[in-house]
Symmetry: C2
Subunit: 250 residues, 2 copies
Amino acid sequence: MKTVIIGSGNVAWHLAQAFKASGINLIQLFGRNQNNLKEISQKVNVPFSTENLVEADFYLICTSDQSIREVSRQIPYENVLVAHTSGSLSREVLEGSYRKACFYPLQTFSKNTNLNYKEIPFFIDAGWENDNLLLLDFAKKISENVMRINLDQKKQIHLAAVFACNFVNHLYAQAKEICDENEIPFQYMIPLIRETAEKIEKNNPKNVQTGPAARQDEIVIDLQRNLISNPIQLEIYNILTHSIKKMYEL
Amino acid sequence: MKTVIIGSGNVAWHLAQAFKASGINLIQLFGRNQNNLKEISQKVNVPFSTENLVEADFYLICTSDQSIREVSRQIPYENVLVAHTSGSLSREVLEGSYRKACFYPLQTFSKNTNLNYKEIPFFIDAGWENDNLLLLDFAKKISENVMRINLDQKKQIHLAAVFACNFVNHLYAQAKEICDENEIPFQYMIPLIRETAEKIEKNNPKNVQTGPAARQDEIVIDLQRNLISNPIQLEIYNILTHSIKKMYEL
């Protein structure tokens, strides 16, 4: 299946490498940003273009949500399959007379981090049964975690990821702020952060909750409230404490 | 330095093992819960008692915050050093005519998880200069991460840990709830959770924030708000989204 990646951001950067590592027939990188394309192109040894989109079997649009519709209009071929990687948009955002699908990789993609591509979950949702099977096979070449879903499920997965990744990272940023203000090297938090993440690989997070809120320890909670001067930080503290207390009410 | 651990909960369970692994002269386990004490005693091959506290050089009280004061009264010796492991209490909570200190290990301790004790940060705060040096040396036998702090710093470390560990675990629990309700195996979240935690070992969390709030993507934010039916979950979503948006305002 001749494959083209469209886009040159972090998702394209990683998926191009994942595709090459899995022996997928990646024949072109297409996009607007020549510098980015060039960099990926050199990394995976696949030609790029900013102007002429070659004919292929499968086009994967890895751009930002805002650009997907516009980019999808530029694919002039008909008997081809086109998918996008967005966590929130349906396949109907794609405008063309080709077959349409969603191909959603669940990971936080930053350049300059090494990812184990075999582990990345890929969620598949195509308009035609044959294309679902095609994309499931395709994704299984890359990863051991592949699942077919519908649009509602995809939106919920994306929401769960916002809690488990984006919000979690923001709490790390809040913890670092507290450390910085008190001359505590943030490095000391790393073993705790790692253990917290690793513990839930084998345990239901609900069963390994620790801390003052889970044990309804009002004395420590009040003490900590008085330590916080940043009003948004205090709001975060209050709502998460409230939510934990409610979850573990006797 | 002849050492006694008082308490038989998760902290005692792990520290007894950490002490033995580091060649510390642990001579007794003391506490109220005979079953728990027996289990730890067998694991580290150190005698336990529920009644007769032996004379030693150093007593480490690993009980819950609520019990520390009461337990501290039961140490009848004078020329000894007594410390507790609480993240929120000062050493002055200890009631006795011995030398007092805080000995705070920064980790989330659950039984049945294996911890790398060499990595656990220990924070030291003793009333006498000699005892600070003594405890720094003692902790360095166990771990590579040892730091002397004051009480204000300890409280802030504990607060930072609530954000980076307790609140983070609760967000994992929220993500699992979303997955469960939508028939998505929570296992699919694990690579994302692991990468989110690992990424900040080498990066400032502020510099690797991803997701709709960081890119001020109001369309996705509104879409996600409409997916949430649980009112507390929506409050969590709103305050964390607001806080991230503020951090990355253009």
